[in-house]
Symmetry: C2
Subunit: 138 residues, 2 copies
């Protein structure tokens, strides 16, 4: 569990001023045990409920984008309708539960090493991402 002091340090060390808006958002995003997957709209709703002073929508967008640029968040494309962000910035895979629309992290170990047999000359692999769509079993 992080406390405010840690977040202040984290922000300062990457050149972001630790404003109260950014700290609120840090607390919400990073002070958890499990990976958090969210859309801007999710985040906005939670902040509205959990925060005393309103944080403007523009600030939420600004903050999420600067956190992404600093490498604290990863943007993921699993749905053309929604833009998700992921607090787990490591290279990893996902389950997408079509029945509930829930996104679940897969650990490295959960997926066998993937071998790509095709090879394009002059190109190298930067990353491999797997999306496993799952649904109710009936």
């Amino acid at each position: 569990m992080n406390n405010n002091r840690d977040f202040i340090e984290k922000l300062r060390s990457s050149g972001l001023r630790p404003t109260k808006q950014r700290l609120e958002i840090c607390k919400l995003l990073f002070d958890r045990k499990k990976t958090f997957h969210f859309t801007i709209s999710d985040l906005s709703k939670i902040l509205k409920k959990e925060t005393i002073k309103k944080i403007s929508l523009a600030t939420i967008y600004n903050t999420v984008h600067s956190f992404k640029k600093k490498g604290y968040l990863k943007e993921i494309s699993i749905d053309t309708e929604k833009t998700y962000f992921d607090t787990n910035t490591s290279n990893h895979h996902h389950f997408l539960d079509i029945s509930t629309n829930e996104l679940i992290d897969l650990k490295e170990d959960d997926v066998d090493n993937i071998k790509i047999k095709k090879n394009l000359p002059g190109k190298k692999i930067r990353s491999i991402e797997v999306l496993v769509k799952i649904e109710n079993n009936n």
Copy 2:
């Protein structure tokens, strides 16, 4: 290579009237040897160039969506900025070349069988999609 007659049949058989707009779009999308990946904007530009009579943007959206609903096109999420459609509707994987932003199909054989070790009770796997990001090798 398909000809107009084939497209008329194809459309009729799925309950879509073979209008000249739909036939133009069929010809453009399906009369090719290689898979075609496109955005609505791409399609719109090509149609503007290659077609005598203007096809309205609304019609392009309508047509692509009905083709998707009929299973002639697949929507793919590889980029949060753009919505791509794919004329290859089979379950398959992709290379995304970050240097050129080009999307390339991987055949089944190009990727070794993927084993997912994690198993969620009550859920079954519907599909597995792999996105391999590649870049210039220097």
